[in-house]
Subunit: 352 residues, 2 copies
Amino acid sequence: MTVTLADVAARARVSPATVSRVLNGNYPVAASTRERVLRAVDELDYVLNGPASALAAATSDLVGILVNDIADPFFGIMAGAAQHAIGEGAAGRAGGEKLAVVCNTGGSPERELTYLTLLQRQRAAAVVLTGGAVEDPGHTAAMAAKLAKLANAGTRIVLCGRPPVPGDAITAALTFDNRGGGRRLTEHLLTLGHRRIGYVAGPAERTTTRHRLEGHRAAMTAAGLGGDVERLTAHGTYDRRSGYDATLELLRREPDLTAIVAANDTVALGACAALRERGLRIPQDISVAGFDDLPFSVDVVPALTTVRLPLYEAGARAGRLAMGTEVPPPRGIATIGGELMVRSSTGRPRQR
Amino acid sequence: MTVTLADVAARARVSPATVSRVLNGNYPVAASTRERVLRAVDELDYVLNGPASALAAATSDLVGILVNDIADPFFGIMAGAAQHAIGEGAAGRAGGEKLAVVCNTGGSPERELTYLTLLQRQRAAAVVLTGGAVEDPGHTAAMAAKLAKLANAGTRIVLCGRPPVPGDAITAALTFDNRGGGRRLTEHLLTLGHRRIGYVAGPAERTTTRHRLEGHRAAMTAAGLGGDVERLTAHGTYDRRSGYDATLELLRREPDLTAIVAANDTVALGACAALRERGLRIPQDISVAGFDDLPFSVDVVPALTTVRLPLYEAGARAGRLAMGTEVPPPRGIATIGGELMVRSSTGRPRQR
DNA sequence: TCAGCGATAGAAAGCGCTTGCTACGGCGAT
DNA sequence: ATCGCCGTAGCAAGCGCTTTCTATCGCTGA
């Protein structure tokens, strides 16, 4: 029925061991023999049995990339870059073909753990965790335990856009400077003269949310506006709908808002929609800023002021780290800064 | 080192066979025994060895979802929905836990084939192919051969948003009515009074591109405008940059364009940017339409007229089909229609 | 009372591959 | 000319799990 190594060996008139070695290319095989084997493989249209080889070799060529929301370009871009880097890296060395797959957790801690277990089952070669983590003590502990087990089994673990938990068995971590970016963004607004700034945050329990918010708060506090931050912050999810709803809520709490900072660009888009529906012009009546600088942000009207994160580069680097193609940064951790992109969605507040 | 089935068996004082049966739940095991085994599994923190079990059982729990561009929400939404459906479906029956993974081909035929081989290696339970296919005779033949082999090995094959090639060994196919959608969109423009309509198409060799364009052409031809279509069509990729460039090119060819139809919403966004840079107002000076109705399309200004495709529903259905949870449509093929969403980016052409 | 059956549990034979170790020529060195 | 080594190839022992076939035991029905 299915062609096996033995069939190829028989056809090439060599032992199965030799065929295996030709295929893996990690043992000297005479050129003539190799050629004969390769021809047999071709003629028989042989396809290696992954599970069998993974079982015997106690390793597999699977690399898992975990994302919170695959429909969100923020993750799509990083995952695509990582997958690309992993695919390319393989081209370099013989037999190093890796199957990079992305797993969508939907932001659920349970699913995250489930996928990790599934990858552990498959004896994955590496795992890349992208995006913010959920800050629940129970989950953090469970994750630490799981990661330790994976690392212990030889799986490389790379974080991308996710802060490392001290003690985590991590190969490398690439984290975004969400705090710094958030601070600079709000400082920009403050410099323009804004004082009543609303903040549409993401889910309260995520690290990304917290860090961006902390940056905002730091800037506000430094400007002597710390007292109002709490009241002018509304939490939601990282999607447009949430931005829309939260903006309306913020406007209810404080009708005189002159600016709104959103957790990310998608949320900012929802915020803009709500504002416009209220008859407010951007940026004449109210300024809006986002975060991430997703591809569409430069094209919307008015173009969004935001913090650009080098998502593609970070993803690609994470991919290489997962492949072991790139040396990890000192102490395994690298922080990637964001760049403030001032565009037309922010301006001076209206005099009143 | 690693805990194996035998360890669990020893601890539970039963045979490995029994442990296996408890874990797979497809053989009667006395409640007391089962409990003892489960306890041992828990105490030992045992994790099944995927490759070993796949080898022995000759099947695996991997399901591959192939997408052209993971950074594009069009694919992200479908893939997310499919992955969700597959994950949920598993919850239903015991032991049915599937690992749905998405593979990013980047639109490259070779990568598509490579991933299929890798999935074949892993003895994947099912494969979902999303998005348009490349129409190259050689590639089509190679794909057909590969799919036949996969199907032959028991892998379920589902197409989502991809037209089936007659003779393909497909389990089921969900295709979008790109032709009909394209036609209705252009008809809408025609009804508004437009006559000089530019078309920014996707890559020429993709089925999706061809079908949408055919719909456009059919509408134009029916209106007696078929002669100009060729000249007023510019091909590019499915991204914003392409929409931007192609729009400029179209304007060069025909400065008096009153409307532009884009291959999809992302491209339309790029087109809008180019138009605005040229000082043209939308829709007063020129109308713009997209396709897909991605989440951001309703939020941009002006809101985009487009054709809504039920991406989430289609992806979810594809996922269920891949799981074998849903019965395939008659003859395996179902066509999913698009809904014309008329919004503010299209209007009557200016009188001149 | 005893054959016979249903419900469970175990023994053991692989699944297809990798790899440590052994075997075997031919060659340069002594 | 002899020894030993290098370059190759084969042998065979698993890797950890599933599953068929067999064994056992407590009952039930005649």
